[in-house]
């Protein structure tokens, strides 16, 4: 995910048309990509992807932005068989099994190049395009002694935090799973303990991060790589990611071919494009995540080094089987 805030592009020609717009009227060589909104902001990887891919495919690449990753899945479910999406970009590993079970994607049938991922990738439906570790990012000027672990944050700290909603946002879901990993069955109790210090639960990552930058809370759920944005793009050294002793939960962001696509070949081409050296090289400084294929010259100066410690991660089947129950638990714990 990238940092500067969202902005939606090119809707001018829809100004009057939308009232009567009907899906499916687009030409065959149009590729519609559903993604989360920050991906397609003017500072995000979207514009670069569009420029690079349109140059090689002779097609019109159309992004449709939805708040955040989990909302993306809900949106595709809502649209059911009538979805105009060709490519689904921005789900994460946690949602892979659920998306497959819901027949939202079809197997890509692609031969993937070797990937620099902290895990083995064998999935036939999704192609990973970047990854990162969740972390609580804090303002060093507002918070002198950040918590040293997730337990420390929940049990000993009085720091107020901003988080995202696990029903809409992949970082929000990540935190839910992270807390599960650390607390197991005691997770609802931990949530109840944390609840009074949660200033706001936002529906997307952009919202929470925007509030954090405005000083609404000194700490926000984001990524270990987020401070690199402030260091590299803004030359600001004020923000840091708290290192938690239990380890950080890992996110792998993936893309797949929509089961409703009428042009799966072009969609597959786009998935391969996501792994191209040109696009992968753009990932660190646009989406501010680790690329899945490290450039030969390494990560940019000032970028957070690739972590060595083992990542926390649930198999996506476990998430599929438990997500609803865990979210209900979370809702109940938060409503106490």
């Amino acid at each position: 995910m990238q940092l500067p805030l969202l902005s939606v592009r090119r809707p001018w020609h829809f100004a009057f048309g939308t009232l009567l717009a009907w899906p499916g009227l687009a030409a065959a060589q149009d590729l519609t990509v559903y993604t989360y909104s920050s991906f397609i902001s003017e500072w995000g990887p979207g514009p670069i992807a569009e420029e690079l891919f349109e140059a090689q495919c002779d097609c019109d690449l159309e992004f449709v932005g939805v708040d955040d990753g989990v909302a993306l899945l809900s949106r595709l479910r809502l649209e059911g068989g009538s979805s105009p999406a060709d490519v689904v970009l921005g789900l994460d590993l946690n949602l892979v099994a659920e998306a497959i079970a819901d027949r939202i994607v079809v197997p890509h049938g692609l031969e993937l190049p070797p990937l620099d991922l902290p895990i083995e990738w064998t999935d036939e439906y999704f192609v990973p395009y970047d990854w990162g570790n969740f972390a609580f990012v804090y303002d060093t000027e507002a918070l002198e002694f950040p918590p040293s672990s997730l337990r420390d944050l929940v049990e000993n700290s009085d720091v107020e935090i901003l988080i995202q909603d696990p029903r809409t946002s992949t970082p929000g879901l990540g935190l839910l799973l992270w807390l599960r990993q650390v607390y197991g069955e005691a997770a609802p109790g931990a949530w109840a303990q944390l609840q009074p210090r949660i200033v706001a639960v936002t529906s997307g990552w952009s919202e929470a991060y925007g509030m954090f930058l405005e000083g609404e809370a000194p700490m926000v759920l984001s990524y270990t790589t987020s401070p690199a944005y402030h260091r590299i793009a803004e030359q600001v050294d004020r923000y840091a990611a708290g290192e938690f002793s239990e380890g950080h939960y890992t996110q792998v962001e993936v893309a797949g071919i929509s089961s409703t696509s009428d042009n799966p070949e072009l969609a597959g081409e786009f998935l391969m494009f996501l792994l191209s050296p040109e696009f992968q090289a753009a990932i660190p400084t646009t989406n501010w995540m680790y690329p899945v294929r490290l450039p030969p010259e390494g990560l940019p100066d000032g970028f957070t080094p690739v972590p060595e410690s083992a990542a926390l991660l649930y198999p996506s089947e476990t998430v599929r089987d438990n997500r609803q129950a865990w979210i209900d638990e979370w809702l109940t714990a938060m409503s106490r």
């Binding site: 001018w12 009057f16 009232l19 029903r167 529906s203 109940t332």
Partner: protein
Amino acid sequence: MANSDVALATARSKSGAIGGLLPGGLVIGLLAGLVAVSVVGLLLAASERTGRSIWTDPYLWAVLRFTILQASLSALISVALAIPVARALARRPDFFGRSLLVRILGVPMVLPTIVGVLGMVILLGRNGWLNQGLEGLGFSGQINVYGLSGILIAHVFFNMPFATRLLLSGWTTIPSEHWRLASQFGFNSGQIFRLIEWPMIREVAPGIAGVIFLLCFTSFAIVLTLGGGPPNATLEVAIYQALRFDFDLQRLLALALLQVVICAGVMAMLTFWARPVATDMALHAIHDRPDRVRVLARAVDGFWLALGALIVLAPLAALGSRFVTGPIFKVLSEEAVWAAAVRSLAVGLTAGCISVVLGWGLLSTARWLAVRRGKLWAARALETTASLSLVTPPLMLGAGLFLVLRTFTDPFALGLIIVVVVNAMMGLPFAVRILNPPMAQVARRYDRLVQGLGMNPIDRFRLVDWPLLRRPLALALGLTVALSFGDFGVIALFGTGQTETLPMVLYQRIGTYRIGEAAVVGGLLIGLCITVFAIIDRGVGGRATR
């Protein structure tokens, strides 16, 4: 007259009965159909998925508890604050700036909710005026704009002025003899309150509190933006989340059912038990009263009037200050903003026109029933059905239509059409309320003449109704267009990059905390709202013909 003429005339007269019932019947059918389709949509979709028992879901009850809690507190605080403010206004009928103050109190009633929310965020955010001020005064405690406190403050901002104006018209219903008696017996302020004012307040306030409870019970934009997390949701927000976040149709249905049952219950209570709230906001002169000259009374009134003005003006001033320092040029050169504005205009104009046409149809039949058939109760019943939308709140309606459409097409592609339909229904009560009195008056005065002359419906509209009713028509259209233009409700269900309306853009800028940009969008929204209203009011209303 030949026999065939009589037969013809008879046939024409029978078709007159059909013509009289047709417009209202069509409108009722349309409304009922819309509600039925969306309810059936909800029921069918929920039965599709089997799952856990919906009524034992603790989250459901937590949401209901919070919804009732915040609505009750909002109503209570709004009315409690409105009583002294209205009393001060009633006691001081002639100070300089009074009419301006009364006008200012009218602003929140027409201000788009999402713009008011922005004002709250600017005023009450961590770095907002209030907290900075408190810090400057040495207070360490912070007021949190997210959560219950923020929701209550926003609801009071929108509803305290509303309550004040309604209470003030309650004061005008106190017979002038009571004030003369008070003067004659030399009542002091406390005695006046106990013996004259309190009985009136006790009669009027429950109805006002009930209406505010209902408005806050179904509050959406404020709670969505300022709620700050799962427990702080109204049923409306939870319906939105159940659809967009979880796609949990069982929960959605349970929430919708609770919503309808409670709203209908409160509506019924208001209809049967509460004294009807005076709808005319005419502010008659209030008779001189003996307790207004005391210095203390002046000070107390001054305090409450200042507080009332502050509650309304502070968020607006905060908004204005961020607007002038905001990135005006940058935002106004964004294509997306203008595209959204154009879309909002299209939605607003279409929805407003539909509201007014539906209202006209409903009232035509009501008028026909009342004047030509003498069935006053039937006419009243017809007028009341316009308020049906209060029982079937927009998000529920939108969700139902969404689920029905989903089986045929991509509902997001039809998003704006659904927004138009739902907004039109929401605007209907306003159109009816504005059009009803003048339409009834014209009917009482001229219906027999029109009938005697044998005007056909088109000539009647052209020669009689249009010239006599174009001003209220313009007012109704202007108001419904403006309401729909600034509405942030169902669009949240359907909004995507291609269907964003201006309020949606504003919501996103607030959400991502780009407050300066949000303030500019808010300013644009208000500016366009006023412009559109003024153009319709002047353009359609024309010069006064009455």
